[in-house]
């Protein structure tokens, strides 16, 4: 198991190196330049030249890349051109916000998706199944930003049930230890703060979790439908076991294998969806900051954030692959 993990981590090195080249070229291929967005409309040619000089953007590209990688190897992701804050520091500060949102979205998707998929498979071809399947189709095709705006309009603006934006009401005097606001509220026993953070979480989590929900429903349905035809399910039924035990131990346990892989892959989708959701709900996380930084052509932030997201994404999938071995003894690495 440990060797497997180490081998996978070693494979990550060339992937990240390749990604760093792509990122480096891509941010520089964006039209516009950081100096111009930093200095604004009234930028003078002299001012632009001076900014470029300070940040080394006049050096040959190869030299720029070399010093970028050299800094990376020492753990230095550079600093934001706009704010001057070190990239790693701002990432660590904003990451909990995105994780909180992502976990909530994934919980929403998994807790609702697996039972729905299961019931659809058990009632194949009936009205319940058709309803769930067509519902999930709508879920898959609805763009995140559209759903986010729609939810906000209906539940926040019209019905006034939930807050429109941000992670917490700024008027609440909350103590932050971990920067996971709901968790902070629970840890400090500031129940009102926790509840407030939770209500702020609902709409963004639903918006972000809808596509994963729809995909999990469909994968679960297909996997359960497959497993239902297996001989071992018939064996389990021939033993006279309770319906609950048959579905939990014999059906779902086998059907979970493809679903787990899907959940791992959804983590990537969550990051890209977070960029849009966080922007719509003014959510203080890495997605929104990334979106702003694209507008400002903040090269170090773009390069650093995307690289860090890639590392986290790879680690999530490694965890999923290792969890696979726990559930399925056939792939257990001896």
């Amino acid at each position: 198991m440990l060797r497997f993990a180490l081998r996978r981590l070693a494979l990550l090195v060339p992937v990240l190196l390749g990604l760093s080249v792509l990122l480096f070229v891509w941010v520089r291929a964006l039209p516009g330049e950081p100096a111009r967005s930093l200095l604004g409309q009234r930028a003078t040619p002299e001012g632009i030249a001076r900014v470029n000089e300070v940040y080394g953007f006049n050096d040959p590209l190869l030299q720029q890349y070399g010093s970028y990688v050299w800094a990376l190897l020492r753990g230095d992701f550079g600093s934001s051109i706009k704010t001057g804050q070190p990239v790693l520091e701002s990432f660590i500060e904003k990451f909990p916000g995105t994780v909180e949102l992502g976990v909530a979205a994934l919980l929403f998707a998994v807790v609702l998706g697996i039972p729905l998929g299961y019931y659809a498979a058990r009632h194949q071809g009936r009205l319940l199944d058709t309803t769930i399947v067509s519902g999930s189709l709508i879920g898959v095709v609805t763009p995140v930003f559209f759903l986010a705006i729609l939810l906000k309009l209906v539940f926040a603006n019209w019905l006034d049930l939930l807050p429109t934006s941000q992670r917490q009401d700024p008027r609440i005097d909350a103590t932050h230890i971990t920067n996971f606001y709901v968790l902070d509220g629970l840890l400090t026993r500031e129940w009102d703060a926790a509840l407030d953070a939770l209500t702020h979480l609902v709409l963004p989590a639903v918006a972000l979790g809808t596509i994963p929900l729809a995909i999990i429903v469909r994968i679960t349905r297909a996997a359960v439908a497959d497993v239902l035809n297996e001989d071992y399910v018939r064996t389990a039924e021939s033993k006279g076991l309770s319906r609950m035990l048959v579905s939990r131990r014999h059906i779902l346990r086998n059907a979970m294998l493809p679903v787990m892989t899907t959940i791992g892959l959804q983590a990537g989708l969550l990051f890209s969806g977070a960029v849009l959701t966080e922007s719509v709900f003014a959510w203080n996380g890495i997605g929104r900051f990334l979106f702003d930084s694209i507008g400002q052509r903040d090269y170090p932030v773009l390069q650093g954030y995307i690289l860090l997201i890639a590392i986290i994404y790879a680690l999530i999938n490694l965890t999923v692959d290792m969890a696979y071995g726990v559930v399925d003894p056939r792939v257990r690495v001896s």
Partner: protein
């Protein structure tokens, strides 16, 4: 192991199947009868074989008795009386109390009939735990005991292993252990040796035979192999295209087959004492060459004794001398003796 069980009078059949029909086909489509008015009785401790080629409806009969047929697209009619209770109409809970404890089943394919992600131990113990109301550790102990009895060496260690770590023969032994775990009154074995090598087949059959004898269970053996029947069963029902075509006790059936299909089955068994180079005599054609029973005898297209009458009307199942036969032109005397091996 003490369990309250209702006593069965020795003259009362344990299982009585009456006019069982199973039709496949979705609503609005023409349905097809996989099992057509099949009736038979099994007495306590009796070993009955249902014999036939693939597609004759024998496995479907077994699944119908167990109530394990899918509910969609399948219509089951008739009666399956287990000690007077109709299994086809009793509710789900009552059925699941009987399954595994009173009536158990051993399945055909040991490679696919065990759950790949659950340990052998748990798969054996769960049925014990469900019906005998014992603790988890007692069920585990009993599992070790069961595996030892079906001839699995080092059973304690095997209990913690997964199906993919066992050979096909071992897995079939596990399935037999599961089937007999709660000492059922009736064991249904659906071609339990088909998927195994010949040498392993013999070993597994021996285990099955011993355990069934030990527990006094009645046995319903579903098979296409008359060799299995000879070693294990007292009575035989031969099925063709969903109907029983001949019914007799083992000795009389082997000595004097009356239905041309039974005769054909017996002639197609390879024999050690036949002259070298002599070819087997298969039944010509395949089970797909059939006509609906409503129009005549389904076996007629493949039958050497066919007459015009056979394709004009369906032969009824006629009882005589303790056996039954569905044929207008049965094998008689010399011909029948010749057919017999």
């Amino acid at each position: 192991m003490s369990r309250a069980r209702t006593a069965t009078r020795p003259d009362e059949p344990l299982l009585s199947v009456r006019d069982l029909s199973v039709r496949f086909g979705l609503r609005g489509q023409e349905s097809f009868a996989a099992v057509d008015e099949v009736s038979f009785d099994i007495n306590p401790g009796q070993h009955l074989a249902i014999v036939g080629e693939s597609g004759s409806g024998k496995s479907v009969t077994a699944l119908a008795v167990m109530g394990l047929l899918p509910s969609r697209g399948v219509q089951v009619s008739g009666e399956v009386l287990y000690r007077g209770t109709d299994l086809l109409t009793c509710d789900r809970r009552a059925m699941s109390r009987l399954r595994g404890s009173e009536i158990a089943m051993v399945f055909q394919d040991p490679m696919t009939s065990l759950n790949p992600v659950v340990t052998i131990g748990r798969q054996v113990a769960e049925v014990v735990q469900r019906h005998l109301k014992v603790s988890r550790s007692e069920a585990f102990e009993r599992g070790v005991d069961l595996l030892t009895r079906v001839g699995i060496p080092d059973a304690g260690r095997r209990m913690k292993e997964y199906p993919h770590q066992l050979s096909g023969g071992m897995r079939q032994r596990v399935l037999i252990a599961i089937g007999l775990a709660c000492e059922p009154k009736l064991l249904i074995a659906d071609e339990p040796t088909t998927a195994l090598d010949v040498t392993i087949q013999a070993q597994v059959l021996e285990v099955l035979k011993e355990l069934v004898a030990d527990t006094d269970a009645a046995l319903l053996m579903i098979t296409h192999d008359l060799g299995v029947v000879a070693g294990l069963c007292d009575d035989v029902r031969v099925m063709y295209s969903g109907r029983i075509v001949e019914s007799a006790d083992r000795d009389r059936l082997f000595a004097e087959p009356r239905h041309p299909y039974t005769g054909g089955l017996l002639r197609s068994i390879p024999r050690l004492d036949s002259p070298r180079g002599q070819r087997l005599t298969p039944i010509p054609g395949s089970p797909t060459q059939t006509i609906p029973w409503e129009q005549g005898c389904a076996f007629a297209p493949r039958c050497a004794h066919r007459a015009d009458q056979c394709t004009d009307s369906a032969p009824p199942l006629e009882q005589s001398e303790g056996r039954a036969l569905r044929c207008f032109h049965p094998l008689t005397g010399a011909a029948s003796q010749q057919e017999a091996p």
